[in-house]
């Protein structure tokens, strides 16, 4: 029996059209990401790292094979059903934060809560708690443009966990940050994984991310390879 949030990709084939032909990204990819995992995915640009996150998050679809999270088979679900499922189960963290520019930090965090039955008061309460966890209580009223990159990404992470999803999908969350800010973000993700039990799948180019990840996989030409020597370095 899979756990509620085990992520399984089974014989997944995915390609994108290019003119009349198609460029294949994956061919017959099978993998499992167990509940509670913190997986870092590395690999060259264009190797399909973001595509994996999109497939798991139900914002892109496979050509063949199947993607499932726990008992929920995403493949074949309608857009509307996927949207609803995603609101409850997935938090996305983007490289460029993708915050709403006209909303304050607190309002950005509140966004996903609008989709829950929580009352306005309960939402405020929750926003305050989460901003506290990411260390931004002082900045609640600031607009994204008034925050540093690291702070914006913390708002992005707060937004991703606001509705309390079990899974966080992070696409190069430290890609736009300096070393210090990047380390703070990695620490924060580690906290979410270790203390709050979030399953995290993180695409990264940042070598030091294996410091916080439980596993690191390298994606190359549509296949995963585990570089044992790297794992050794990090342990």
């Amino acid at each position: 029996m899979p756990n509620d949030t085990d992520i399984t990709l089974t014989h997944v084939t995915k390609s994108y059209p290019l003119g009349k032909s198609r460029i294949p990204i994956f061919q017959d990819l099978t993998m499992t990401i167990p509940e509670g995992d913190f997986l870092a995915i590395m690999g060259p640009s264009g190797s399909g790292k973001s595509t994996i996150l999109n497939l798991i998050g139900g914002i892109d679809t496979v050509d063949e094979g199947q993607v499932a999270v726990g008992h929920t088979v995403l493949t074949g679900m309608s857009d509307a059903a996927l949207t609803q499922w995603r609101a409850a189960h997935i938090g996305f963290v983007f490289q460029f934060y993708n915050l709403m520019p006209m909303l304050s930090a607190a309002e950005n965090v509140e966004l996903p809560l609008l989709l829950t039955p929580l009352s306005a008061r309960a939402r405020q309460e929750r926003v305050r708690t989460i901003l506290d966890i990411v260390g931004l209580s002082e900045r609640a009223g600031h607009l994204p443009s008034e925050l540093s990159g690291g702070q914006q990404q913390r708002v992005g992470i707060a937004r991703a966990v606001a509705a309390d999803p079990k899974i966080l999908l992070c696409d190069e969350p430290t890609g736009d940050l300096d070393r210090t800010s990047a380390d703070e973000i990695l620490d924060l993700l580690q906290l979410l994984n270790r203390k709050l039990g979030k399953t995290i799948v993180m695409v990264t180019h940042d070598d030091s991310s294996c410091r916080v990840a439980k596993r690191t996989l390298h994606l190359d030409k549509g296949k995963f390879i585990q570089r044992e020597e790297e794992l050794m370095v990090c342990r």
Binding site: N54, G57, I59, D60, D79, A80, T83, Q84, R86, A87, A88, F92, F94, N98, M100, P101, M102, L103, E107, E110, L111, P112, L114, L115, A120, R123, R159, A163
Partner: protein
């Protein structure tokens, strides 16, 4: 629309304040044009025309007259509740040919029976007129325009009708009457036909028209048909219409006001539709990525659609309010200036509710298409959008 999504609507409206302001202004101007023109039209056509009342004129048209004897025949029809006759004096103020005065010779009691819904012809006024054969009842607008008071002696010169002294006719003002509603045109006077008819040198017992009030529930169209058929083989063939049709046919002799109004208003509205539609296409396109993010967060297409629609509804609602406020501020002034053309400019509730409907329709139209366009884009593509 959930109350909670208001912050998203707000952020979209405030993101480019100048743009929102300009949109509201252009919508406001279009509804201002609409408001002024429809007030003008309402004033010009008057609200006194009643679709259920009928007007009988000569089929030959123009200034042809009908014999007064036809009245008895019409009165006998069971569908007729009241019938009266009207003869136009076709006169100007003595000594001033340019100052045309609307003056009708009528039988006061039957006139009040037919037109009592439109003019306040109460028993006291009718009694005052009954007491003086050469009396006249003057409409409020005309009396104010000329500065006339009860008891004043008024002399008119008819272009056509002569009495033993020539074409001058003198009357004493027995009273001043009002319309039942502010839009009713009271820029005319009535005199007694018994006096007028006997004083006439030529053309006695001829009238310009009959006014008919059908019994409640009678079909005016059927009654009109009945009357015209009854006189079809007589020397005086009739043309019977309901009053609104009669009045607009009459007005169209001068200008097709409603067509002109409709044309100008359509141009104004097509222009704002293009402006707002175009702006919304760009506004939605530039936040394509945000829409992608909202979908990633789990916002459904319907919810995003509602947020965009709420945005255009707010724009149009504020623009509409602005336009109508401006209209109501301006029409009293404009009414003064146009006093000789239109009795009174008046923003009717009908025009206001039509404006509301139009605004809602435009808001849905200008919001729906761009939003639909954005929603059709796959999330992955929307996220990559710059």
């Amino acid at each position: 629309m959930q109350v909670s999504s208001i912050m998203l609507v707000r952020q979209n409206l405030t993101r480019k304040r100048a743009r929102s302001l300009l949109l509201v202004l252009s919508i406001g101007i279009a509804f201002f044009v609409y408001g002024v023109l429809s007030s003008f039209q309402a004033g010009f056509e008057g609200s006194e025309a009643k679709a259920e009342r009928l007007v009988v004129v000569s089929k030959i048209g123009g200034n042809e007259t009908l014999p007064i004897s036809a009245l008895d025949q019409i009165a006998q029809l069971p569908e007729v509740a009241a019938v009266t006759h009207i003869t136009r004096l076709r006169a100007h103020l003595i000594g001033n040919e340019r100052q045309i005065i609307g003056a009708n010779a009528v039988d006061p009691d039957s006139y009040a029976a037919v037109y009592g819904d439109t003019y306040k012809l109460d028993p006291a006024l009718l009694a005052a007129l009954a007491a003086d054969r050469t009396g006249t009842l003057v409409g409020r607008t005309l009396a104010e325009q000329q500065g006339w008071q009860v008891g004043d002696r008024v002399t008119l010169t008819s272009f056509v009708h002569a009495n033993s002294d020539g074409r001058n006719w003198s009357f004493t003002i027995a009273g001043i009457f009002d319309g039942r509603e502010p839009t009713v045109d009271t820029n005319f006077l009535i005199v007694r036909s018994d006096y007028f008819n006997t004083a006439l040198q030529r053309g006695r017992n001829r009238v310009n028209m009959f006014g008919i009030k059908p019994v409640p529930g009678a079909d005016p169209a059927v009654l009109a048909e009945t009357i015209d058929t009854a006189f079809a083989n007589s020397a005086a063939q009739t043309k019977t219409q309901n009053e609104t049709a009669f009045l607009s046919a009459f007005l169209e002799q001068f200008a097709n006001v409603s067509l002109i109004v409709r044309m100008i208003v359509s141009v104004a509205f097509v222009t704002i539709l293009l402006i707002v539609g175009n702006t919304m296409i760009f506004a939605v396109r530039e936040r394509m990525q945000e829409i992608g993010v909202l979908k990633v967060l789990g916002f459904s297409g319907a919810r995003i659609m509602r947020i965009v629609l709420a945005e255009t509804i707010v724009l149009f609602a504020v623009g509409l309010a602005l336009g109508l406020l401006l209209t109501s501020a301006v029409i009293p002034l404009l009414g003064q200036a146009l006093r000789s053309v239109v009795p009174e400019l008046y923003l009717t509730t009908k025009s206001i509710s039509l404006a509301g409907l139009l605004a809602l329709g435009f808001a849905l139209l200008t919001g729906f298409l761009p939003a639909l366009n954005a929603l059709r884009l796959p999330i992955v593509a929307a996220l990559r959008h710059r």
